[in-house]
């Protein structure tokens, strides 16, 4: 009798445990962030007080002209970036899916490369290329006797870099929609007497509109939460966006933690609204209907024009992949950035390893690499186990409150990394003897930040294991735990390993949340790179950027080899 009651309580205990962990990781920091936004108490000095809790504090901050200008700059930069991204992504999708342009497959995969470059590295590369005085492009333009100059330290510069790096988001969505569209929908229009342009305007476009909107919103959301690009390109021109403004507030002396929390809440509200809109679009108006049928997409014969589309694609790849990589390589290996004339770019005696040596002489470099690895491993293990437990509970059991667990798990989708950083700062900075200042706070923040994507990836691989395989083990007399360890885990292993590797990659490149959570002893690579950049040493910055890119490249190739498709999730997290 008692044994039966205990057995009946077990599922509740399990659900309770998961909810408690999620509350600790997600709900508690978010709540503390809200409290911070609604009070004026400094948590470091006075601890947490609820006595002056008032919406007035939040409104005061929201009405501040600096906040308004940062919000406006964010909207302009991300809005402009999104327009550029749509223009590039959509044409890229059309060229790859619907034309007979040569080398399409190669173009398509190379076009995804920008997604793997950390935003900070992209920003650094374009600063090297396009800083108004010393930028490589400007040097070349000057030597070529042209009077035009590029200035990347500007709003257009930010929009351009945002646009070219986040075009793949739009491409991914629209290419899939174009590929999955039943070609007879367009053929029916042509048979009906519609011209090619009329068919495009009345059938093709309306049908892929949900995909375009979805890709647009997603790229906008990701840009909104990016710190690296506006920090590198906007700050020199005194252009603050929400993310850089939030960080500036915490770097103030004394730090304005309450204001930072309030601005972070504004950023979270905007993001949350956009995520909601995006989910609605993805959920409701999907026209790619006919299930399980493979279509051969209609391929337009461009004739000789196909070499022009090939040319345009190559230009895009040059701008997005080749040029920035070359800039980093030149800056990292060149002894002095002074370039007398164009042939001197190719003088080998100008090049050497001195920046790398100097970089390694700084003990912080090595410390930050080691710390990043440690945090990565912690995140992968903790996040992997938690995500498996949640994924299994949601997809495979009838445990109570599954829905609640699912909902809490998806909350972080709407919270930009930087906001998670501020929330964790608020949650732990006022608690003496807590995890603030340790590597754990970074790891836990990363687990919270990436839990939605990880659970989703794991759930997909769990759903592929037929339920009857588990039931067969139960029939054979195995208990739940033994069934999981002897049947589910071995079968889901590729998925689990891929998810954990992915967590590792995502956490070693994460900048936004690290900014608020590192301390002198827990420096990580992404923050150290920013430090080098802000210290003004371009050579070391470029060298360290290359080190990180090579490291990430190796890891991503490894993950791809483990499971195809995991790589796109790297992208989705920004």
């Amino acid at each position: 009798m008692d044994g039966n009651r205990a057995r009946a309580l077990l599922p509740w205990a399990w659900s309770g445990l998961l909810i408690a962990i999620l509350a600790f990781l997600v709900v508690y920091p978010t709540a503390m962030l809200l409290i911070g936004a609604l009070t004026t108490t400094n948590p470091v000095v006075e601890g947490y007080k609820l006595s002056d809790l008032s919406i007035g504090n939040f409104i005061d901050v929201a009405m501040n002209p600096n906040v308004a200008s940062a919000l406006l700059n964010s909207l302009i930069a991300c809005g402009g970036g999104t327009i550029v991204a749509v223009a590039i992504g959509l044409s890229f999708a059309w060229v790859v899916v619907r034309t007979n342009t040569p080398c399409k497959a190669l173009i398509a995969s190379a076009g995804m490369l920008p997604l793997f470059v950390p935003p900070l590295v992209a920003g650094v590369a374009w600063a090297i290329l396009g800083s108004p005085k010393t930028g490589l492009l400007n040097l070349i333009l000057a030597k070529a006797g042209l009077s035009i100059r590029v200035d990347m330290y500007s709003m257009p510069g930010m929009i351009f870099v945002f646009g070219i790096y986040y075009a793949p988001y739009v491409y991914m969505f629209t290419a899939a929609a174009l590929r999955n569209m039943d070609p007879s929908l367009e053929e029916a229009a042509e048979i009906s007497g519609a011209s090619a342009t009329r068919t495009m305007a009345t059938v093709t476009f309306p049908l892929i509109m949900p995909a375009i909107l979805s890709g647009m919103l997603l790229s906008f959301i990701v840009m909104l939460g990016i710190y690296g690009i506006p920090a590198v390109l906007g700050s020199p021109a005194n252009i603050n966006v929400l993310t850089t403004y939030i960080f500036a507030l915490t770097a103030w002396s004394p730090p304005k933690y309450n204001t930072a929390a309030a601005v972070a809440v504004i950023l979270m509200i905007v993001t949350g609204f956009l995520v909601y809109a995006q989910q609605r679009i993805v959920g409701s108006r999907s026209y790619t209907t006919v299930a399980g049928k493979a279509f051969r997409p209609r391929s337009l014969n461009l004739g000789p024009w196909r070499f022009m589309t090939l040319g345009l694609a190559i230009v895009y790849l040059l701008i997005v992949v080749v040029l920035p990589t070359l800039a980093l390589i030149v800056a990292a290996f060149r002894k002095f950035m002074f370039i007398r004339d164009i042939p001197s770019i190719f003088e080998m005696k100008q090049y050497g390893w001195q920046h790398f040596t100097k970089m390694l002489d700084n003990p912080l470099t090595v410390t930050s690499i080691i710390n990043s690895m440690k945090v990565g491993i912690l995140t992968a293990i903790v996040g992997g186990i938690l995500a498996f437990a949640i994924g299994y509970t949601i997809t495979r059991t009838k445990a109570p409150a599954r829905r609640t667990i699912d909902v809490i798990t998806t909350i972080p989708v709407a919270i930009p990394g930087l906001v998670i950083g501020v929330a964790y700062l608020w949650a732990w900075i006022g608690l003496p003897g807590g995890i603030y200042g340790t590597l754990w706070i970074l790891a836990l923040a990363f687990v919270a930040r990436f839990i939605p994507d990880t659970v989703k990836a794991l759930s997909t691989s769990l759903l592929q294991i037929h339920r009857e395989l588990e039931e067969a083990a139960w029939i054979c007399g195995r208990g739940t735990v033994m069934t999981i360890s002897s049947i589910v885990l071995p079968l889901a292993r590729p998925g689990v390993v891929a998810a954990m590797t992915l967590l590792f990659i995502l956490s070693i490149r994460e900048l936004g949340s690290s900014l608020f959570l590192y301390s002198s002893g827990t420096m990580v690579m992404a923050v150290q790179l920013l430090g080098y950049y802000e210290g003004g040493n371009i050579g070391i910055t470029a060298a360290f950027s290359l080190v990180q890119m090579v490291l990430l490249g190796v890891l991503i190739t490894f993950t791809n080899w483990l499971s195809t498709g995991a790589s796109t999730s790297v992208a989705r997290s920004g």
């Binding site: 007879s184 929908l185 029916a188 009906s192 519609a194 309306p206 049908l207 209907t289 006919v290």
Partner: protein
């Protein structure tokens, strides 16, 4: 309004060096006639249809509609689909999911710049024809498969095309709906008096719908004839087999006169129709439909042989027997809910010479 369609020596090669998907196909569809192209998948029937539509460009040959040449690669003539004034119904319905029923049907009229009043009237008539008038303002995504296909039909006929093309329009529907829509389709097409080219792999559909049926295989047109002719006088072994003559007995032609001949199978001789190129002393295959085997004939006659019932498969309204006959195994079918013979029975079997066809083997 409806026009004659002439396809002349049509050939389509998808990739150089590959076997042609359509191989020298010629046929004519009279004005107001329904011709069904029938064949297994990959036989070139859909490619032929799409060449007529202008959606596929043939390698050579001509397509003439109502006396005008629409496709003639040799002369550089290739009218785009929109200029052909044809109607087409697709296998996947291809109704536009972002439009209502009315918007779907109005689309071709709008593309032709018809007046608002003409559009309203045309849509009304077309929807009445397919019995969907009360659904006009629904989004098409709320319709069932059968209703979507009716929308597609209304859309393809609303502008009174010269020819209606139908590409397996019923294959995505469930069995019962397919039967109903099949009968409706013929009735509607005939009422409007349209010339129609219809593609399917389903022989019963072809028989019910078509005035004439063209059987295709490997890109070639094997026989184009009325359903009656096709079922009772198939041109070759493949057509016979494809239309249900699943029994095939190997033998040797002995003599030939007036289209009939004597075939030797083992020690026995039987009388059968002979294929055009069958000459005495050649190896032949004799094809026979299971439902044409007469078990225990009431009167003596030609082609009667003793047989033994090997097995009986009772199917409710019909019974299929496996018989040991002429040294081989032959399937026979009797209609009716009574199963007259039992396993192991010895019965006399008659093979009516009129429905027994012999073709050269290979």
């Amino acid at each position: 309004m409806s026009s004659e369609l002439r396809v002349e020596h049509l050939e389509k090669v998808f990739s150089p060096g590959a076997r042609p998907a359509v191989d020298d196909v010629s046929f004519t569809v009279e004005a107001g006639e329904i011709v069904v192209l029938l064949g297994p998948s990959g036989c070139g029937k859909t490619t032929t249809l799409r060449c007529v539509a202008g959606l596929e460009h043939p390698t050579s040959g001509r397509i003439v509609i109502g006396g005008n040449v629409y496709t003639d690669p040799a002369a550089g003539v290739l009218m785009p689909p929109r200029a052909r004034n044809l109607g087409m119904v697709f296998q996947s319905y291809a109704v536009w999911p972002h439009m209502t029923v009315r918007q779907n049907v109005a689309y071709p009229l709008k593309a032709r710049g018809a007046s608002r009043a003409d559009i309203a009237k045309g849509v009304e008539e077309a929807l009445a024809l397919v019995e969907l008038s009360s659904y006009a303002d629904r989004p098409v995504t709320q319709l069932s498969g059968g209703q979507m296909q009716r929308v597609a039909l209304a859309r393809s006929m609303v502008y009174q095309p010269q020819i209606l093309l139908l590409d397996e329009p019923l294959s995505n529907l469930d069995a019962q709906l397919r039967l109903r829509l099949r009968d409706d389709l013929r009735r509607i097409i005939k009422r409007v008096g349209l010339t129609a080219l219809y593609v399917t792999h389903d022989q019963t559909e072809a028989v019910v719908l078509g005035d004439r049926i063209g059987v295709m295989r490997d890109g070639k047109m094997l026989q184009l004839a009325s359903p009656l002719e096709l079922y009772n006088n198939p041109a070759d072994l493949f057509v016979a087999g494809f239309t249900g003559a699943t029994n095939q007995m190997a033998g040797i032609a002995v003599s030939r006169e007036d289209g009939f001949g004597t075939i030797a199978i083992g020690g026995d001789q039987l009388l059968a129709r002979l294929g055009a190129n069958v000459t005495p002393n050649t190896a032949v295959k004799v094809a026979l439909r299971p439902d044409n085997v007469v078990m225990a004939p009431p009167l003596p006659g030609p082609n009667q042989f003793p047989a033994k019932v090997l097995s009986r498969h009772y199917q409710g309204t019909q019974t299929v027997y496996e018989l040991a006959l002429l040294g081989t195994t032959v399937e026979a079918m009797e209609v009716g809910s009574a199963a007259r013979h039992a396993e192991g029975d010895q019965v006399t079997v008659a093979l009516p010479p009129d429905v027994l066809w012999a073709y050269t083997d290979g």
